[in-house]
């Protein structure tokens, strides 16, 4: 019964078809099958946000979606959004504000922050609420909020 399921999805613009065991979640699939190791695995139960990726344009937890469920979906990862330069202003602002130390949370943090930037201007409280599902154990968030705010107000 636990046979692999043929799954076709578009990842960062490239169509891929693989035979996937149902138990494999999306971020393991991206990392191990496709070698896209920019999306990180932290808690594997939806708490830390390190695995945040976009599916059909919306951010999701990569550890809380099975790879087989992504059949027919468009997936974008930190690699794709870096290459397309969509994240360039945020990446620059994170760098300038020291909005990371170890950097483990950063790919997920950037995915979540970019999701917010697509929705127009927000207050600092709203920024904090939006990234509340992305844990950073180094920075205390202040510099991250600063960086996001700067880009939001067009100074990134």
């Amino acid at each position: 019964m636990e046979h692999a399921v043929e799954t076709t999805l578009t990842v960062n613009g490239t169509r891929v078809t693989r035979s996937v065991a149902p138990r494999v979640h999306l971020v393991d699939f991206l990392r191990e099958e496709l070698g896209l190791t920019g999306s990180h695995i932290g808690c594997e139960h939806g708490v830390c946000g390190a695995c945040t990726v976009r599916v059909n344009g919306e951010i999701v937890r990569g550890c809380l979606m099975l790879a087989v469920q992504a059949d027919g979906c468009t997936v974008e990862t930190i690699e794709g959004l870096s290459d397309s330069k969509e994240l360039a202003p945020l990446q620059k602002a994170f760098h300038e504000h020291n909005a990371l130390q170890c950097g483990f949370c950063t790919p997920g943090m950037l995915m979540a922050a970019q999701d917010l930037l697509r929705g127009g201007k927000k207050t600092r409280d709203e920024i904090r609420a939006h990234i509340s599902g992305n844990y950073c154990r180094c920075t205390g968030y202040q510099a991250i909020v600063d960086a996001i705010e700067k880009v939001m107000h067009g100074q990134g």
Partner: protein, 268 residues
């Protein structure tokens, strides 16, 4: 951790889903935002996951004579953005902001939350306050269960084998308020309140205050805030959690009741 091995099938129709969920060890997968963590932590070990997210009939939000029908597969994010929900069931629109985080709201569903019946979750308490009707689909047709009969115990509902939550119907009320206290934005509630009121009176339910969402019958009928605060300990006996004693939770429930009372008491 990694999930144990299981088989996967995506149902193309309700009829196919009924066939699939009768197989041994089958479990329904909708948004997966509670089920997949429980698999990853190996708290659940189904043999087959039946993915129902392809069932388009369960994705509608529809104004009906008895109230607003919301399909089981409507996600938190869709609910959050829906004008119909904001207009007809503002209680849910207020509650959804407290449901986890944006990335989770993009996949988690109304039906999943009701079917899981987590006592700390938002929608079960809203359903109870509104006395919503849960619509269950089965081979022999639809069965409709009021929220007050639906939540039976800790993670236990009136769903019978072979049934799938198809959606829920939420009646329109004049006033509503949803309040929640959590350690951080998006965390599970320490305690929360879903309250509604119209000409027939108030209906106040609490989350995080028992094994199920709890309807505060005595406080709802009280003539004044002071009277309601007085009787709340007869409505609620909240179990302690890792951080909060039962007495703290009861205190916090009273805090929320005080904050909600004026909104629910405006003249009709």
């Amino acid at each position: 951790m990694k999930a144990p091995a299981f088989a996967y099938a995506k149902a193309k129709s309700l009829v196919e889903a009924f066939d699939l969920i009768e197989r041994p060890g089958a479990k329904i997968l909708a948004g997966g935002q509670s089920l997949i963590p429980s698999l990853n932590m190996r708290l659940a070990a189904p043999e087959l996951l039946v993915d129902i997210t392809g069932l388009k009939d369960l994705t509608v939000i529809d104004v009906r004579p008895n109230g607003l029908h919301i399909g089981a597969l409507v996600t938190h994010a869709q609910l959050e953005k829906s004008d119909k929900v904001a207009k007809h069931v503002p209680l849910l629109a207020q509650a959804v902001a407290h449901v986890a985080h944006p990335a989770i709201r993009n996949r988690g569903t109304l039906g999943g939350s009701l079917a899981l019946a987590d006592p700390a979750a938002e929608y079960p308490a809203c359903a109870l306050a509104l006395n919503a009707t849960i619509v269950l689909a089965g081979r022999r047709g639809e069965r409709r269960v009021s929220a007050s009969n639906f939540f039976k115990g800790l993670f236990e509902t009136d769903i019978r084998p072979g049934e799938i939550v198809a959606g829920a119907e939420f009646p329109k009320v004049d006033r509503s308020i949803f309040l929640e206290l959590a350690r951080r934005q998006g965390d599970y509630a320490i305690v929360g309140l879903a309250g509604v009121a119209d000409a027939s009176g108030k209906r106040i339910a609490f989350l995080g205050a028992g094994a199920t969402p709890v309807f505060a019958a005595l406080a709802s009928r009280a003539v004044s805030l002071n009277a309601a605060l007085e009787v709340l300990d007869r409505d609620l006996d909240p179990p302690a959690d890792l951080y909060h004693s039962s007495a703290t939770k009861l205190h916090l429930a009273r805090v929320l009741l005080s904050r909600a009372w004026n909104t629910l008491s405006k003249p009709h």
